[in-house]
């Protein structure tokens, strides 16, 4: 060990780190109140249904959303539920943004899949934002506007839930012959994370969103593109 490393170790002993309180009572009280058992993530056979069930349960758990679930859409790992009133939500920046910015190889390693991207010049996007260990997001430019492309595995261990209200338009459309969903207007987004279980923070989305599947991935484009522009861009993503 070098002298600098020895100094660092010594410094660590001199840091003013407050003594921790006993966290166990608060942790156990929270778990007792919610009466939850560890979620059986590995039961792949029931997983897709479980995700949907949790999504619906979560919608009902929000008092403002308890009034009624009006309609239900599901595509890839994403479930879209139309409710009468949107639950309280924070802007994306307050929710921690898009995740950690990392290089593309590092993102693909963490996510466990190759990112699908539109054709690009040079080596492509040098920065990918990774949320939890599940959602990869790159910022593209299309028609002079920034557009977010987010991708995650549809393979049952992760899911996104969107809540929409009547003023928000939700339509089935096609991308290269495959089903896709076009959402126009404000809605909220909550995601399930492979590592962390159900993430309770709900984010308000103000742009338009196109959701479709590509292989085992669920892809979403978010921004201020028109439906035709979004579908045209989605067709180039491979």
């Amino acid at each position: 060990m070098t002298s600098l490393e020895l100094r660092l170790r010594a410094l660590g002993h001199e840091l003013d780190i407050p003594p921790e309180r006993d966290l166990a009572p608060a942790v156990i009280e929270r778990l007792s109140l919610s009466r939850t058992r560890p979620f059986p993530w590995r039961r792949a056979g029931v997983l897709a249904l479980a995700l949907v069930a949790i999504a619906v349960g979560a919608a009902f758990a929000v008092p403002q959303a308890r009034t009624a679930i009006l309609r239900f859409f599901h595509i890839g790992g994403e479930t879209i539920i139309r409710v009468e009133t949107l639950p309280p939500a924070v802007e994306r920046a307050q929710a921690g943004g898009f995740g950690m910015p990392v290089s593309r190889p590092e993102a693909e390693h963490t996510l466990g899949f190759r990112l699908m991207l539109p054709p690009f010049h040079g080596s492509g996007p040098d920065r990918v934002y990774v949320l939890g260990d599940s959602v990869g997001t790159v910022i593209l430019r299309s028609h002079g506007r920034p557009v977010l492309l987010s991708e995650f595995s549809s393979a049952g261990e992760m899911g996104l839930k969107k809540l929409t209200v009547n003023q928000t338009s939700v339509q089935w459309v096609r991308v290269d012959g495959r089903d896709a969903i076009w959402i126009r207007g404000t809605h909220t987004l909550t995601y399930f994370d492979r590592q962390l279980g159900f993430r309770e923070q709900t984010i308000r989305i103000r742009g338009n969103v196109l959701v479709w599947t590509g292989g085992r991935l669920t892809l979403r484009l978010e921004g201020s593109l028109t439906r035709a522009q979004a579908i045209a861009l989605a067709r180039t993503i491979d």
Partner: protein, 185 residues
């Protein structure tokens, strides 16, 4: 006859089946390192406590995904550190770490001369200031490896990167610190 204490694998299995007392034992075993990890990442005792508490709640709910036989501590640290980083990002700032007050000697420490104590404190403060000037990723790597004494694997889990990335970040951070402190070492 005295009951033998349960080992961690048995505790995890019990917790997986919904035994909260088993989870309570696990929380008590790991809460110290969980809190300290969250603290060096956020610099805030309140944020660290919340991050550690939320981390233990989320880890319990995600136990079904924990690979049987894998070491529990890196997995817990990964979840807690993720919570801590989320709070740091939400606050868009990190509190600076500070040294203990000079009078707070550790029990059993030899009493240094006043001059030696002053020199040592100045040297610690200089080094800490240089660390705080590093990028977050370099600073976090140094904090995990040297302040918390985490292994490379545990650091990789806490920082959510590969082991090789930990090595390169630590190496670059040490290089930066040497440059900054050139002539002082």
């Amino acid at each position: 006859m005295v009951d033998r204490p349960l080992d961690e694998t048995e505790l995890v299995e019990r917790a997986r089946r919904g035994d909260l007392r088993a989870w309570e034992t696990i929380v008590r075993t790991h809460q110290g390192i969980a809190f300290r990890t969250a603290y060096v990442l956020t610099g805030s005792a309140a944020d660290a406590e919340e991050a550690a508490q939320d981390g233990f709640v989320k880890a319990y709910r995600a136990l079904g995904r924990f690979r049987r036989g894998a070491p529990l501590r890196p997995w817990l640290l990964r979840i807690v550190a993720n919570e801590a980083r989320n709070r740091r990002r939400s606050a868009a700032r990190r509190e600076r770490l500070s040294l203990r007050a000079a009078a707070e000697a550790r029990p059993g420490d030899a009493v240094p001369s006043p001059e030696a104590a002053l020199l040592s404190r100045e040297s610690h403060e200089q080094l800490l200031a240089a660390i705080e000037r590093l990028s977050d990723e370099h600073r976090d790597a140094i904090a995990c490896r040297y302040f918390l004494d985490l292994s490379e694997d545990e650091t990789a889990a806490a920082l959510h990167v590969r082991r090789g990335t930990v090595k390169s970040r630590v190496s670059r951070a040490l290089e930066r610190l040497r440059e900054e402190l050139e002539g002082e070492l």
